[in-house]
């Protein structure tokens, strides 16, 4: 328990200090959101229409951006060896890293997401749903990204494989997350948020095991 907290605290510190992690992801998110209106023109109705989709895609990508180095840096400099030998299972380690990643990116992305939704002219009710959806869905993104990062740790062409692994798995998050907002906009009932919550729960519960298997596999490389 305390070991878990220790790793979370340290990964948070590294994410905040390095700049590479958290700040880059947030900056990236803001960048997408700023560039899109430049790209498609200042049509406010159109923007509101696509806001949820664009913000979700941007959030997922921003989170993934920092995920590919989730284990990589520790692997390269030898820290991962030391962690594997510490009194902490690899499953717990993976879980801690996923939690730290979510705290340093998923959570702030949700906050910034709310601001951007307003800037895109999304109505209040829809904005509320978007924020809720981001809050529920981003943990799944961190978890799934963690699996991908662990599996491709020592692979020379890891970068190529990563999107193939992660993309099919995060697609449901985007679909349900943006779907929930679309339903509110159209005044429909929808179970999207429930699906999202179920998917997210499943992902967070299972990811540590899959990620630990990936790390174990790659330490012997």
């Amino acid at each position: 328990m305390s070991a878990l907290r220790t790793v979370i605290a340290r990964d948070l510190m590294l994410a905040v200090r390095a700049g590479g992690g958290a700040a880059l992801a947030l900056a990236f998110f803001a960048a997408v959101a700023t560039l899109v209106p430049l790209g498609i023109g200042p049509d406010l109705k159109l923007l509101a229409r696509i806001a949820a989709g664009v913000l979700w895609v941007a959030a997922v990508l921003a989170a993934l951006l920092s995920l590919d180095r989730l284990f990589q840096a520790d692997f390269e400099d030898g820290s991962l060896d030391l962690m594997a030998l510490a009194p902490l299972s690899l499953e717990a380690l993976a879980f801690a890293k996923i939690v730290a990643h979510w705290l340093s990116t998923g959570l702030p992305l949700t906050v910034i997401g709310a601001l951007l939704a307003v800037a895109y002219g999304l109505p209040a009710a829809a904005t509320g749903t978007l924020v809720l959806a981001l809050l529920i869905g981003t943990p799944a993104v961190s978890a799934i990204g963690g699996i991908g990062a662990a599996l491709t740790l020592s692979i020379r062409r890891g970068g190529l494989i990563l999107p193939f692994i992660v993309l099919p798995l995060v697609a449901p998050v985007v679909i349900f997350g943006a779907g929930a907002v679309a339903a509110v906009l159209d005044g429909l009932q929808s179970g999207a948020l429930l699906f999202l919550a179920a998917f997210s729960l499943l992902a967070v519960a299972l990811a540590p095991f899959a990620a630990a298997a990936g790390v174990r596999l790659n330490l012997g490389a």
Binding site: S2, A3, T6, V7, R10, M13, L14, R17, A18, D74, E76, D77, G78, S79, D81, L82, M83, A84, L85, A86, P87, L88, L219, G220
Partner: protein, 199 residues
């Protein structure tokens, strides 16, 4: 019963190259083993196998703890203190922060950086090679583990650092620990030697 390490018929092949085979070794509390051999002989690989980080092609590694319990497989990890060939120093954290992190993770008290000739406030980014190595040594000591595995511990250390290392090794073995160090230079402490495959 005392702490002991037994290696039986250990073999390792990496990418079609057989690094060692039929390796038998038994060490008891207090033993210090220097692992030598030419570059690429498999010293680092052997240390990883002993730590359980790398699966051997054949053979077993077993540790008997003080209480007489025989430990092999993954549980071995809980007995190993590791000083790898890379320093595992984070540029973004200062010396004190790094030591405190590892101490908390291993559930042991953090040592004074000054005892290893380090200033606690120095950021990892600015450490010289020798200072990084000293940090790694401090981290090894703080684990409190009984089986030390060291990969080229002398690298980048000055004379004072080498004496420090020799002192730590002596104390560790005197306290009933075992240490195995892959090295190209004499450690400055009496002990056994195992030379790996001359190609």
């Amino acid at each position: 019963m005392t702490f002991a390490l037994a290696i039986e018929r250990l073999a390792l092949t990496r990418g079609h190259r057989r690094l060692f085979a039929g390796l038998d070794l038994s060490l008891r509390a207090g033993d210090l083993l220097s692992l030598t051999g030419p570059n690429g002989a498999g010293k680092t690989s052997l240390l990883r196998v002993i730590a359980g980080l790398l699966a051997p092609t054949e053979g077993i590694v077993r540790i008997r703890t003080d209480s007489g319990e025989a430990v092999d497989g993954e549980d071995r990890a809980r007995l190993v203190g590791w000083l790898g060939d890379r320093d595992a120093v984070k540029p973004q954290l200062d010396v004190g922060e790094q030591l405190r992190f590892w101490a908390k993770l291993y559930g042991t008290p953090a040592p004074e950086p000054e005892a290893f000739g380090l200033k606690p406030q120095l950021p990892g980014q600015y450490l010289s090679s020798g200072q990084k190595r000293r940090l790694a040594l401090a981290r090894l000591v703080l684990t409190g583990r009984k089986l030390w595995l060291l990969d080229e511990p002398l690298a980048a250390l000055d004379d004072d650092g080498k004496a420090l290392l020799a002192g730590k090794l002596t104390a560790h073995c005197a306290a009933g620990g075992i240490a195995i160090a892959a090295t190209h230079d004499p450690l400055g402490v009496d002990g056994l030697t195992l030379r790996l495959g001359d190609a």
